[in-house]
C-alpha cells in the first residue's frame, strides 16, 4: 500500500509589500493561496504555471525556506510548520532542493568537494573528513561527474555539469524528497535531456519522491506522475498526468497545452493560434471570482462572482472551473 509521505494542507504564503508612498498602508501579495495536496512515496508531482504564479514560492514554503503564512505541511505524520528550528534542522536531511540557475546557485569560492559536502556537515556532523570525502566521491560518480574534478571550481564547468554538481549536493544526505525548481530551464535542449534522464534514474535508484516545478509542460509530462496547475497562487487543476494532458478540465490548462511548441511542422502549423491573450493579472489585486476569467475564452458573468472550488472531474482528477464539462466536451478548444 502506498504510503503518504507529504501532505500540504491549506497552505498560504502572503508577502507584505511596502505601500507606494511613505504613508500608504502595506499591501498584501498572496503568492500561494490555500493550496492542498498529498504526495505518496516514490511519486513525482509536476507543478506548472507561468512566471509569477507562485510555483517557486510554493516549493520553498513546503521546505520552510520561506515561512508560510497559514496552513500546514505534514511530513511523515509530523507537522513541519510546528517544528522548532533545531528539529527542523534534523528534518532537513530528508528534504532537499535543486535550483534553476546551476552556476549562480553554487558558491564560486568553494570547490566542488566543499560545495557537495556542505549539507553533510550539518546533517551528519559526526563524519570524519575522510568519510565525508568518500561520500562526496560516491555521489559525484552517481551524477556522472569524474571524482578527479573534486578540487575544481564552479566557473570551470558548463551549465549541464554545474547542474550535476547541484544535484550531487541535493542527494548527498540521502534525502527522501527533492524539490526541483526549474532544474533544466536554463540549459540547452540537448543538455536538458541528460539532466532529466539523470533525475529519473536517481529517483528509481534511491526511491526518491520529487516535486518538479517547471513552466515547460513537455518536460513536466516526461517526468511527472501527477500534475498540479497553478494560476495566481491557486490550484486550478490537479490530477494524474495522463488525464491532465489528454483531457484537461480547466481552460487554463488547455491554453497552456496549446501554447507549448510541438517539434513537428505539420502539427505545429495545423494547430493555429494560441487562445491565451496577454499576461497574467497582478497577484496584488487579483480579479474577483475566478482569477483566470480575465483571460478565459469561455468566461461568463457568473465567473466574476464566486471563486470556483475544485470539482471532481475524473478519478483523482479535480479542476476549479464552473464549466469544466464544457471545457472537456468542446473540441474547438483543443490542444
Amino acid at each position: 500500500m502506498a504510503e503518504t509521505l507529504l501532505s500540504v494542507e491549506h497552505l498560504s504564503t502572503v508577502f507584505s509589500l511596502r505601500g507606494r508612498s511613505l504613508f500608504a498602508p502595506n499591501v498584501d501579495l498572496k503568492a500561494v493561496s490555500d493550496v492542498s495536496f498529498s504526495l505518496e512515496k516514490g511519486e513525482t508531482l509536476g507543478i506548472v504555471g507561468e512566471s509569477g504564479c507562485g510555483k517557486s514560492t510554493l516549493g520553498r514554503s513546503i521546505l520552510r525556506l520561506i515561512e508560510p503564512t497559514a496552513g500546514r505541511v505534514v511530513w511523515q505524520g509530523r507537522s513541519l510548520t510546528d517544528l522548532s528550528d533545531g528539529e527542523m534542522r534534523k528534518a532537513r536531511r530528508d528534504l532537499s532542493i535543486i535550483f534553476q540557475d546551476p552556476v549562480a546557485s553554487l558558491d564560486p569560492r568553494m570547490n566542488v568537494g566543499q560545495i557537495i559536502a556542505e549539507p553533510l556537515k550539518v546533517a551528519e556532523p559526526s563524519l570524519s573528513r575522510k568519510e565525508r570525502r568518500q561520500r562526496v566521491e560516491k555521489v559525484m560518480e552517481e551524477v556522472g561527474l569524474a571524482p578527479e574534478m573534486i578540487n575544481r571550481y564552479p566557473h570551470e564547468f558548463s551549465g549541464g555539469q554545474a547542474q550535476r554538481i547541484g544535484i550531487a549536493r541535493a542527494i548527498v544526505t540521502e534525502p527522501k524528497l527533492i524539490v526541483c525548481d526549474e532544474p533544466v530551464s536554463a540549459l540547452d535542449v540537448s543538455i536538458q535531456a541528460q539532466i532529466v534522464n539523470l533525475l529519473k534514474a536517481l529517483k528509481q535508484r534511491m526511491g526518491l519522491t520529487l516535486i518538479f516545478i517547471s513552466h515547460d509542460l513537455s518536460v513536466v509530462r516526461l517526468v511527472s506522475d501527477r500534475i498540479l496547475v497553478l494560476y495566481l497562487g491557486r490550484v486550478v487543476e490537479i490530477g494524474p498526468r495522463r488525464e491532465v494532458f489528454a483531457n484537461p478540465g480547466h481552460p487554463y490548462t488547455k491554453a497552456l497545452l496549446s501554447a507549448a511548441p510541438i517539434p513537428d511542422p505539420a502539427i505545429a502549423r495545423a494547430r493555429g493560434r494560441t487562445v491565451l491573450k496577454g499576461d497574467p493579472p497582478s497577484p496584488i489585486n487579483p480579479p474577483s471570482g475566478c482569477a483566470f476569467r480575465t483571460r478565459c475564452p469561455i468566461a461568463r458573468d457568473v465567473c466574476a462572482e464566486v471563486p470556483p472550488s475544485l470539482a471532481e472531474v475524473g478519478a483523482e482528477h479535480r479542476a476549479a472551473c464552473l464549466f469544466w464539462e464544457e471545457v472537456r466536451g468542446d473540441p474547438a478548444v483543443t490542444v
Binding site: A193, L222, A266, G278, D279
Partner: protein, 347 residues
C-alpha cells in the same frame, strides 16, 4: 554559395560566403565561425539552430558589426549586393536599423531604462527617416498597436521597467519594425519568456513575415519552436553548417546524425514518451576543434573516415545540404516529397 532555386532567380537578400570569425584569446584562437555559406531570401524565414557555442549568435553579431574587439572576420556578408564587412561604421549605421534590425533574447538590454517607450521608438524614426517628433510619435504608437500592446496610449508614456517581459519584447520588436526593415534577425527572442508569451510572440512574427514580407532569421537552441514558423532550417555545429533543409524534410528525414539526435532530445507535450535521448558528451572546444568531422566524438555512427577527414557541406538532394560522410538518405522519398501525415494527438 546561395542555394539554387529554379523558381527564384532573384539574388538573396543576405548572403554569407566563406564567412569566418576568429577570436584572439590568451588561451589561443577561438575558431567561432568557419567558412560559412548561408543565404536568406526575401521574405524567407530561416531558423538557425545549434547548441551554446555553435557560432549561431556570433555569425549574426558579425553581420551587424556587433562583435567584441578581439574578433577577426573574413569572407563576405552581402546584403542586397553590398558587402557589410567592407562598410565604414557610418555606412553600416544606415543599413542597420533601417534595412535590417536585430531582436535580442533579453529585451531589457536592448531598451534604455531611463527613457520612456515613446522616446526610444521615435528616436529610431527621427534618425533613420528624418521624421519630426509628432509624426515619429504617431508612427511609434501605431506600431505598438500592430505588435499587440494593449492600452498602447498609456504604455507609450511608461518606462521599460513598468512593462512585463513579454510586453518589453513586443516593444523591442516594434522598434525593430519601425523603419520597415527587409530583414529581422531575432536571437533567442522567446527563450526568456513563458510558453504562453512565447506562443504569442511567435504568432506575431508569423503575421509580420506573412503580411509585410519581412525576412526573418530566428536563432535558437530549441528545434521545437521553429517547427511551426520556419521555411528553412540551418543546423550549426562547431561554427559550421552541418545540415540545411526545408523545415518539413528536416524534421521528417534528418540527414545528419547530429540533427537526428537534436530532434530525439526534444520532449513532447502532445504524447507520452518514456524517455528522451540526450546527446552524449559536450560541445567541442573551439580552440582545439576535433579533427575530421567536428561531431565525430559524439556521433555513434562515426567511422575512421569521420575521424580523419572533414566532410564538406554537399548537396544531398535538391535543396538540401549536409556535411556528413554517411548521411541518412531515404531512398523511397528521394524522388517525391512524401509529407508525413500528422501523428494522431494523444487521446
Amino acid at each position: 554559395m546561395a542555394m539554387a532555386k529554379s523558381t527564384d532567380t532573384n539574388q538573396p537578400l543576405l548572403a554569407l560566403s566563406d564567412y569566418t570569425i576568429r577570436f584572439a584569446t590568451p588561451d589561443g584562437t577561438v575558431k567561432a565561425v568557419n567558412g560559412l555559406d548561408l543565404s536568406v531570401g526575401r521574405g524567407e524565414t530561416v531558423a538557425v539552430v545549434g547548441e551554446s557555442g555553435s557560432g549561431k549568435s556570433q555569425t549574426f553579431n558579425g553581420v551587424f558589426g556587433l562583435l567584441a574587439g578581439n574578433a577577426l572576420t573574413a569572407g563576405q556578408a552581402t546584403f542586397e549586393g553590398r558587402d557589410l564587412l567592407k562598410l565604414s561604421p557610418r555606412e553600416l549605421d544606415t543599413v542597420r536599423g533601417a534595412d535590417m534590425a536585430m531582436v535580442f533574447q533579453d529585451p531589457m538590454t536592448a531598451l534604455n531604462p531611463a527613457m520612456k517607450i515613446k522616446h526610444q521608438l521615435s528616436e529610431t524614426l527621427k534618425v533613420h527617416k528624418g521624421l519630426k517628433r509628432r509624426a515619429a510619435e504617431a508612427q511609434a504608437l501605431a506600431m505598438l498597436k500592430t505588435v499587440g500592446i494593449p492600452e498602447a496610449e498609456r504604455r507609450i508614456e511608461q518606462y521599460p521597467h513598468e512593462l512585463s517581459g513579454g510586453m518589453r519584447q513586443r516593444v523591442v520588436i516594434a522598434m525593430a519594425l519601425l523603419c520597415r526593415p527587409k530583414l529581422i534577425v531575432a536571437d533567442e527572442p522567446t527563450t526568456a519568456l513563458d510558453v504562453t508569451i512565447q506562443a504569442q510572440i511567435l504568432d506575431l512574427f508569423r503575421d509580420l513575415t506573412t503580411d509585410a514580407g519581412t525576412a526573418l532569421v530566428l536563432i535558437t537552441h530549441d528545434l521545437g519552436v521553429v517547427a511551426g514558423i520556419a521555411d528553412k532550417v540551418v543546423v550549426m555545429y562547431a561554427g559550421r553548417i552541418v545540415e540545411e533543409a526545408g523545415v518539413d524534410a528536416l524534421f521528417a528525414r534528418p540527414a545528419m546524425p547530429y540533427t537526428a539526435a537534436l530532434i530525439r532530445s526534444i520532449p513532447r507535450v502532445d504524447r507520452d514518451v518514456e524517455a528522451v535521448e540526450p546527446i552524449g558528451g559536450r560541445p567541442p572546444d573551439l580552440i582545439h576543434p576535433p579533427t575530421g568531422c567536428p561531431f565525430h566524438p559524439r556521433c555513434r555512427f562515426a567511422e575512421d573516415k569521420c575521424r580523419s577527414e572533414r566532410p564538406p557541406l554537399a548537396e544531398i538532394e535538391p535543396g538540401r545540404r549536409a556535411a556528413c560522410w554517411f548521411p541518412f538518405i531515404d531512398e523511397t522519398s528521394a524522388t517525391g516529397d512524401t509529407v508525413r501525415s500528422p501523428e494522431t494527438l494523444d487521446g
